[in-house]
């Protein structure tokens, strides 16, 4: 059923496509995170804006990926920009929500104790709220990363690279092995990244009690 010979002879391309895939993902995450931090900070400073911001992000999230990409193409062409605009849009909802939740989730007694000890409001934000928000933010990044890795496969339809190319070609040529390679390597990559984030959270937030089932 599986054409191992084909796999063997295409290892180089598999590696290359994986590299492309990772690059597309990383760009999306970095830009998405930066944008989300900005928007979350805005929502934090002006609570009224939180509703509209999440509403917009939510709408973007609901538009199916191929539709969004297809809609952008007439304007931005079959380019990296098109792909990234789409990919970044899908990270916004989860990241913004997680960052804001993280900031709001600081226990009030901790904030009161901090103020009582002589922290200024700014010190409370930087020393207490932000560090304590790290676990939630990493959790959001983890989900965003895995989701993005899945979405990058769809960008093959608008001419970008990544492992979706195998899926598309396999479809067009009715070659199951190729589809499998595209899918399985994507899954493996996603699981690897997922684990990496779990480890990162453990290193960056050693104080979290992990005994309770989340």
């Amino acid at each position: 059923m599986i054409d191992w010979a084909w796999i063997g002879s295409h290892l180089g391309e598999i590696a290359a496509r994986t590299g492309e895939h990772v690059l597309l993902t990383v760009i999306a995450l970095v830009v998405g995170f930066a944008l989300s931090m900005l928007l979350a900070w805005l929502a934090w400073a002006r609570p009224r804006s939180y509703g509209p911001i999440t509403w917009t992000a939510g709408i973007l999230y609901t538009i199916p990926s191929i539709a969004l990409f297809a809609l952008l193409v007439p304007f931005t062409g079959l380019s990296l920009l098109t792909a990234e605009i789409g990919l970044v849009s899908y990270t916004l909802l989860i990241l913004i929500r997680n960052i804001v939740t993280g900031l709001q989730g600081t226990p009030p007694s901790v904030v009161e104790a901090g103020l009582g000890m002589g922290f200024s409001d700014r010190e409370v934000l930087w020393r207490l709220r932000l560090p304590l928000a790290v676990p939630v933010v990493i959790s959001g990044l983890r989900v965003a990363a895995v989701t993005t890795i899945g979405l990058v496969t769809v960008t093959a339809l608008i001419g970008r690279g990544g492992l979706g190319v195998f899926i598309l070609r396999g479809l067009q040529r009715a070659f199951t092995t190729e589809i499998l390679v595209g899918t399985v390597v994507t899954v493996a990559l996603a699981l690897l990244v997922d684990s990496a984030f779990v480890l990162a959270e453990r290193r960056l937030a050693p104080w979290v009690d992990r005994a309770t089932v989340r």
């Binding site: 297809a70 304007f75 959001g140 989701t147 899945g150 979405l151 996603a190």
Partner: protein
């Protein structure tokens, strides 16, 4: 740019756009039909095992891991793999691969959230029910299910919205639905069709969400607490 929008309005104004095999009504019904079927199947397949496992307090590792794995699997890949499978089984292309892929997409979050919901039912209530002589099944259906309903219903709601949105991918393997407009439009360079498809799906997804909202009161038992739905949104992958 405004040209596209005025063309779209013209397209919508034309009655021919609505009727016929490729008409809006036909595509819309197709899309809704498959989505409903997929969600119903996913619930049938995922809900009972999740409830039983949670009731017996086993399998927490599976439940937690399933969502992660589910999110990691690209729906595009699943649809693509379903196609040769369906061809081999003689089910043909289009409908069946899309349906299978949508069911696979919807199952993990429904499973995991049902599991969590039942697991988190106050153990004192369960103990009281068992103490009164209810059998295991009666406890599940009479106590754990109703009390877990808010979370479960929210998971079904979000899964439905996701299925509606992702079913557009079905057009790639020859299915119809609203994705047909997107794919055909893209292939023909016809922006009006692409816009039509995208907007219709988005509207349908929002309508689905609102529809669930409206019927929520009918399904939820009075007095059950309302959990934060925000967290669940992240439970589902995007295809």
């Amino acid at each position: 740019m405004s040209g596209v929008f005025s063309d779209l309005i013209a397209y919508l104004a034309d009655p021919n756009s609505w009727t016929g095999q490729d008409g809006i009504i036909a595509r819309l019904s197709e899309h809704i039909g498959l989505s409903v079927l997929a969600v119903v199947l996913a619930v049938i397949l995922a809900l009972p095992p999740a409830m039983v496992l949670a009731h017996r307090r086993k399998g927490s590792v599976l439940a937690v891991g399933l969502v992660n794995v589910g999110r990691a699997v690209p729906t595009f890949g699943v649809i693509a793999l379903a196609l040769p499978l369906c061809l081999a089984l003689g089910l043909g292309l289009g409908f069946w691969p899309t349906l299978i892929a949508m069911v696979v997409l919807a199952m993990p979050p429904i499973f995991t959230n049902t599991y969590t919901a039942v697991r988190q039912v106050d153990p004192a209530v369960v103990e009281a029910a068992e103490g009164m002589g209810f059998t295991g099944r009666q406890v599940m259906t009479g106590t754990e299910l109703p009390l877990g309903m808010p979370v479960i219903w929210t998971a079904i709601r979000i899964a439905s919205v996701q299925v509606v949105a992702t079913a557009t991918l079905g057009a790639i393997v020859g299915w119809g639905g609203l994705g047909r407009y997107v794919v055909d439009g893209f292939a023909q360079g016809n922006d009006v069709l692409v816009l039509l498809g995208g907007l219709l799906v988005a509207l349908l997804a929002v309508a689905t969400d609102l529809g669930f909202s409206a019927t929520e009161r009918l399904v939820l038992p009075p007095g059950a607490t309302h959990r934060d739905r925000g967290e669940l949104a992240t439970a589902i992958g995007h295809g």
